[in-house]
């Protein structure tokens, strides 16, 4: 019966089926195994880091980690707070012995500064560093009649005769030592050079820059070839006078690449120098004297060129300083008027310890500073690893800020757009175009959004400013306000002050010529200069990126609200908007919530769009710190600052700094924290979706 067509010799269908079944199951579980392997690796390496560092990983900012080699020694004393930090940042046991806690007391002085006092620049900065609440927006500078400084070692000084005369006029009692005079004869040279083309070396070229010689270089000197000799054109016969030092640099016949002079004439002249010495001690002199001494290596914290700051604080703020600093401040600033001076004591918990064995210690930068206060602390070697110490507080906060700004924008627009598409739109041209645009927007690579955000928000977006950038695309004056920005801001940002009669373009040119980045001519401008790398730019970029997702899922949840709700509302006489507001949106709310959590998950994980719109690797302040304005402008300043962000931080510690075993804890720790945050968010969204699906049935 072998010709029966239905008879098969052997049916291997069942085995085949089993194999195929196994294959499909393998494909599925292989995906799961791969993902689990990745999670597992990160957990395996990350959990010990978090266990070691504990909560401090979340409560510290990223810092530079220093790896020090310490020799064994006894009697190290550091504040207990930093000692504890040291224990946290070292995963290995340190050979510490004889731990002992004790109180150390410091003399403090608290006082207030009266308005109208004069204070040197860096003294003020010192005070502000120790007292964060104190910030002077000064508007005026004055040269004080008396300034103080300390000479720590006997110092010999040589100055020219006219300078000495100025000093003797203002401070006749300053110089007590013997003054010796010395006459030096110097020479100027009068040089004639013929027109033509000559080879010229870079050194000769640089020294000729300061003279009045007219020459045209055929090429510029490349940075990587300092010895190159280029050809220069002397367009006409010239005769110039120059100091002999420049003459020997540019016209020396023995050197290569110097110019041939046809006629040289020497013009000698005399200069008188005077020598004297200052013994160590405190001095008080006039500003003019300080200005001269400043050039000869007298160390002080005054600004000798611009003068002292006039204090003009509105509020009375208490300042606290250590006794030594206070003494120095008072001695060096005779025109400083203080009130409410009070002495007090501060007790700080210290730990004393010995190190039993030579050991390698890892310290965060802020702890290292505290350790270096101890004179016994002398590491034999010190290596630093950027961003590898401390924790991830800054990045977490930064990411949270970005997400909040982004979602505020995206939800507002997204819900409105979804409402239009679901409730108002009729099938037609516009709706079709909108849907097509959304569809395509969803497929745009995230880096292109980054590019777009960089070009639009960072470089082009408009700002309102009294001090617009000179490089702005377009400056439109709106209204004339006759108020200057504070002197402190003018100095800090290099603002060029221009006469208010000048037009915008003239002001811009003038500021440009002066090399200033910003100008001010009394007008208030809309300036298309971009927001800079800041949270707002990043938030907008992320919002644009996530918009299609938000619109689509909001629309889904609006669609899920039954038609009868709307009909019932309308039947009761509600207008369209009333029916949407009372009968549709409240019931779509849970769905919108899910959509927003989904959006947050996506936004929090993105790196490419914020790479050049919002994120920076290094920032010492949290977003709300270091803002000195108030009211609305404080809010604008808050939004217009760059932030650290968790994904960008991971990119920095993983890809942009040299790899070593010391950076690894930071890498795995921040990745694990990031994964935990993202997974919690996505678990919430999955949970919400399931709950809504089960709960709400119309």
């Amino acid at each position: 019966m072998s010709d029966n067509p239905f008879k098969s010799k052997k049916s291997n269908l069942r085995t085949k089926e089993k194999f195929a079944y196994g294959g499909y199951a393998f494909a599925t579980y292989f995906i799961i195994i791969c993902a689990t392997f990745i999670f597992g690796t990160i957990l395996w390496n990350g959990v010990p880091v978090l266990m070691d560092k504990g909560l401090s990983f979340l409560s510290h900012k990223p810092q530079t980690l220093s790896v020090l080699e310490l020799e064994k020694g006894t009697g190290y004393e550091v504040p207990t707070e930093h000692f504890d930090n040291m224990l946290i940042s070292n995963p290995n046991e340190l050979p510490l012995e004889n731990l002992e806690e004790f109180q150390k007391s410091f003399q403090l002085v608290s006082f207030q500064i009266k308005n109208g006092s004069l204070i040197g620049d860096d003294y003020l900065k010192d005070i502000e560093k120790d007292n964060k609440q104190y910030y002077v927006r000064f508007t005026e500078r004055k040269f004080p009649t008396l300034v103080g400084f300390t000479v720590h070692r006997d110092k010999k000084i040589r100055i020219s005769k006219p300078e000495l005369e100025i000093i003797q006029k203002h401070d006749p009692q300053l110089i007590t030592s013997e003054i010796t005079e010395k006459i030096v004869t110097l020479q100027n040279k009068k040089v004639t050079i013929k027109a033509g083309e000559y080879p010229l070396s870079k050194d000769a070229h640089d020294s000729l820059q300061k003279t009045e010689l007219i020459f045209q270089m055929k090429q510029s000197y490349p940075d990587d070839e300092p010895n190159k000799i280029n050809i220069t054109i002397i367009p006409k016969d010239q005769t110039i006078t120059l100091p002999s030092s420049i003459f020997y640099a540019a016209f020396d016949e023995d050197e290569k690449g110097t110019l041939p002079a046809t006629k040289v004439e020497s013009i000698p002249y005399e200069k008188i120098f005077t020598d004297f010495s200052l013994t160590k001690g405190n001095y008080q002199t006039s500003s003019e004297t300080l200005k001269i001494l400043n050039q000869y290596g007298i160390k002080h914290l005054h600004n000798a060129e611009k003068g002292a700051v006039v204090i003009n604080n509105k509020d009375e703020i208490n300042i606290t300083l250590h006794q030594e600093k206070y003494d120095q401040l008072v001695a060096h600033n005779p025109q400083l008027k203080l009130s409410h001076i009070e002495q007090s004591q501060q007790q700080i918990q210290y730990t004393r310890f010995d190190i039993a064995k030579d050991v390698e210690v890892q310290l965060n930068f802020s702890d290292l500073l505290a350790f270096k206060q101890d004179s016994k602390f002398k590491p034999t070697s010190e290596k630093t690893h950027s961003y590898s110490g401390g924790g991830v507080l800054g990045p977490i906060i930064g990411t949270a800020c970005l997400v909040i700004i982004c979602m505020a924008i995206a939800l507002f627009t997204g819900i409105a757009a979804a409402t239009y598409l679901n409730e108002y739109a009729k099938k037609g041209g516009l709706t079709k175009i909108i849907r097509l645009a959304m569809l395509n927007l969803a497929g745009v690579p995230s880096i292109v959004f980054g590019l777009f955000g960089f070009g639009l928000f960072v470089m082009l977006a408009p700002v309102f400013s009294q001090t617009p950038n000179t490089g702005s695309k377009l400056n439109i004056p709106i209204v004339f306000i006759d108020s200057k920005p504070d002197l402190r801001i003018i100095e800090a940002e290099g603002i060029h002050i221009v006469d208010s009669k000048l037009s915008t373009s003239e002001s811009e040119e003038l500021a440009n010529a002066a090399g200033a980045k910003k100008f001010h001519n009394g007008w208030y401008y809309i300036s298309f200069q971009g927001w800079g790398v800041c949270m707002l730019a990043g938030g907008f970029t992320l919002a644009i990126m996530v918009l299609p997702v938000i619109i689509t899922s909001c629309e889904e949840s609006l669609k899920a609200v039954p038609m009868s709700f709307r009909e019932a509302a309308m039947a009761l006489g509600a207008t369209k908007w009333q029916s949407i507001r009372t009968a549709v949106l409240p019931y779509a709310f849970p769905g919108i919530l899910t959509a927003s959590v989904l959006g947050i998950t996506r936004v929090a994980g993105e790196t490419a769009p914020i790479m050049f719109t919002a994120a920076v690797a290094e920032k010492s302040d949290l977003p709300w710190q270091g803002i000195h304005t108030s009211g609305f402008s404080a809010f604008v300043d808050f939004l217009q600052q760059s932030v650290q962000a968790l994904p960008y931080h991971i990119y920095t510690v993983a890809g942009r700094i040299p790899q070593s075993e010391y950076t690894q804890p930071m890498q795995y720790g921040s990745v694990l924290i990031f994964m935990i945050i993202v997974f919690m968010l996505s678990a919430v969204s999955i949970y919400l979706r399931i709950k809504i699906r089960n709960k709400i049935k119309w």
């Binding site: 777009f452 990119y651 990031f674």
Partner: protein, 656 residues
């Protein structure tokens, strides 16, 4: 109707109009406006990219024109000849080195492993070594003092000696301990060939070296053995032939190099002059303005001098290029020398059959490939040199072609920048294809399994899990690839099990393969979810009919259900592809960052997204480089949009 019930929540007492629009209209238009934002944004992106990219081609054309005028183009023709022969020479050298490495085996790396272990052991025992040095010092001090000072008792010296002995012992113990923890897994380069045979001896040698500071006998033996083996290999006839070929190739090179370098200096000086002249017009305008606005006479004079110092004599390129034209005749000799050297060399290249190393064999094949085309190549360059004219116009079409078909992306070069997008596109597309090839079987297979074959309990576990995979941020995957996966692939690809695969064993950590694996994992959730949707949408009747006809479950799936939702599956794959092409962080960190057209899937490469992320932060707005990057962005955008559009079209068609 004044008596409407005021307790009705919808009672509206007032209605008003602005410009003929009621409140309702305004609300509607407000919502509509928000919806229209999507259109605005996408057109904004397109306009913006185009606007920033338009300045690129004219600027690039200007640059390339100067490149020709200055004679750089011509010297690059010389260099092309030179580089080709250098490539041959270096391939020969590499082939010999790899052959040696293979034939010598694990012995080849013993000394390297020894020094790496040594540095690790030294590091772990820093404290002990310092202690040893200190006790040695104090002992020496005591001894030298004891000669002069009688107050030091022999007891003290004995004590110090005992301490020294103790510290020595401690050091030995510590080193021993850390050595026992070290094995080949700790090596930085996982691609090194290792053998357990040497491990114990290496450890002992390190210990001996650290404690006694002598060169261990073992290492001496190994070096001697290595030299012996290397000499034996050098004496093999085919290695001899290869070395002879190498010598032949390298013979004319030094003279030609000097010849070219002289000309290159001339050309780059010409270019510098051209650039200086082009800039001077702008500088004069800026300085004139500054002069007008200056306050003091002194300032005005200064600006005046600056203006007069600008180069106003246009460079005479015909005269500047004269030495280049003269060189054509001299180059004839070098050209002939190259040709004879190449013919000599080729005749000496041995057969591949006797080579043991796979890599060497591959290199020899490369040599053979170059050999077949090198003589025509040299002649072609010679003709190009003879016909070269500095004043020939550099056309716009050639500039555009130079961007879209150029194989060089060189930036911040002191010689000449080139913006050719081909290596970037090939990198991006190659890695996406590798990723899709890996992802498709798993994700489509997984979708079929979950949708048709698995149990309910499996479904409730697998689907959320895959959603979790989707939630993994790309930077986390990039990090994983950068720190973990690269080293893993490098290590395990050395195994004999994978030697049949092309491109294996993998030499670098960061390669297309590495990035492709991660991108595959990224594409899986997208493809999986969409595929599952497609499978879900197949009517139940299809399955029932098929089963009723006697088909098995598997037959139903493969022959009935899959074909009926094929377009959905294809759309899913395309969407996954689109997502991968646009992915940034993984390719930025893991792809290796080598800007060259990749030859195999285990080479490093660079991508369009990677180059944007890497370079856009460092260029000046409006510069040539800026324009080039925006052009790349535009190309990327078009590719992604095209893929997205096609897949959406397919998806739409099939859902109807």
């Amino acid at each position: 109707m004044k008596d409407r019930n005021p307790s009705n929540p919808f009672y509206n007492s007032k209605s008003w109009k602005i410009f003929g629009l009621t409140k309702q209209d305004l609300i509607k238009y407000f919502f509509g406006g928000n919806a229209a934002l999507a259109v605005l944004i996408i057109s904004g992106i397109i306009m913006f990219l185009v606007f920033n990219a338009t300045s690129f081609f004219p600027q690039y054309q200007k640059k390339l024109t100067l490149y020709r005028l200055s004679g750089q183009e011509m010297t690059d023709l010389y260099s092309a000849q030179y580089n080709k022969v250098v490539e041959l020479e270096s391939l020969c050298t590499q082939a010999v080195a790899y052959e040696k490495q293979t034939r010598i085996g694990a012995l080849y790396r013993v000394t390297d492993i020894y020094s790496e272990f040594k540095s690790k052991a030294l590091k772990s025992a820093v404290a002990e070594r310092k202690e040893l040095a200190r006790s040695q010092n104090s002992l020496n001090n005591l001894k030298s003092k004891a000669e002069a000072d009688t107050s030091i008792t022999p007891q003290q010296i004995a004590q110090a000696e005992a301490h020294l002995a103790k510290t020595q012992k401690e050091l030995k113990h510590k080193v021993n301990q850390s050595l026992n923890d070290l094995d080949y897994g700790h090596l930085k380069n996982k691609a090194w060939e290792t053998s357990d045979f040497y491990l114990k001896d290496i450890r002992l040698a390190v210990l001996e070296n650290i404690t006694t500071k002598n060169q261990p006998q073992f290492i001496k033996n190994i070096t001697a053995e290595y030299d012996q083996k290397a000499a034996k290999i050098d004496a093999l006839h085919f290695i001899k032939e290869l070395n002879k070929a190498k010598t032949a190739f390298s013979q004319p090179l030094p003279a030609y190099n000097t010849f070219i370098n002289e000309l290159r200096t001339i050309a780059s000086t010409n270019k510098a002059q051209g650039e200086k002249f082009n800039r001077s017009a702008d500088t004069i305008i800026a300085n004139t303005k500054a002069k007008e606005l200056a306050h003091t006479e002194e300032e005005r004079n200064k600006q005046d001098i600056q203006i007069q110092r600008q180069l106003t004599v246009a460079p005479n390129y015909a005269k500047l290029c004269e030495p280049l034209y003269y060189s054509i005749a001299d180059q004839k000799i070098h050209h002939e020398a190259l040709k004879t050297a190449v013919t000599n060399g080729i005749s000496n290249i041995p057969d591949t059959s006797e080579f043991k190393s796979n890599i060497s064999r591959g290199l020899l094949e490369d040599i053979a490939k170059i050999n077949s085309e090198i003589l025509p190549f040299l002649n072609e360059k010679r003709t190009q040199i003879e016909n070269w004219k500095h004043h020939k116009e550099y056309s716009m079409s050639k500039t555009i072609a130079g961007f879209f078909f150029g194989t060089e992306w060189v930036t911040n070069s002191s010689w000449q920048d080139f913006y050719g997008v081909v290596p970037l596109i090939t990198g991006s597309v190659f890695v996406a294809i590798v990723a899709i090839c890996i992802a498709v079987p798993f994700s489509v297979g997984g979708a079929i399994y979950v949708n048709r074959l698995s149990s309910k309990a499996e479904q409730t576990f697998i689907k959320p899990f895959i959603e979790f995979i989707q939630a993994i941020p790309s930077i986390v995957l990039a990090f994983f690839g950068y720190i973990v996966l690269g080293a893993l692939i490098q290590k395990y690809s050395q195994s004999w099990m994978f030697s049949w695969l092309p491109g294996f064993p993998v030499e670098d950590q960061y390669t297309i393969l590495n990035a492709g694996l991660l991108l595959a994992l990224m594409a899986v959730p997208t493809i999986f979810t969409l595929c599952e949707d497609a499978l879900n949408n197949v009517p139940k009747s299809y399955k029932e009919a098929s089963l009723a006809l006697g088909a098995t479950n598997l037959q139903t799936v493969t022959k009935v259900i899959l074909p009926s939702c094929a377009s959905g599956v294809i759309a899913a794959i395309l969407l996954g592809f689109g997502r991968i092409v646009g992915e940034t962080m993984v390719v930025l960190l893991v792809l290796g960052g080598r800007i060259a057209i990749p030859g195999s899937w285990t080479d490093p490469a660079h991508s369009m997204t990677g180059i944007l992320a890497q370079e856009i932060g460092e260029v000046n707005e409006g510069s040539l480089h800026w324009g080039a990057l925006f052009m790349v962005g535009l190309v990327l955008f078009s590719i992604a949009l095209g893929i997205n559009y096609i897949s959406q079209k397919i998806l739409l068609k099939y859902t109807r």
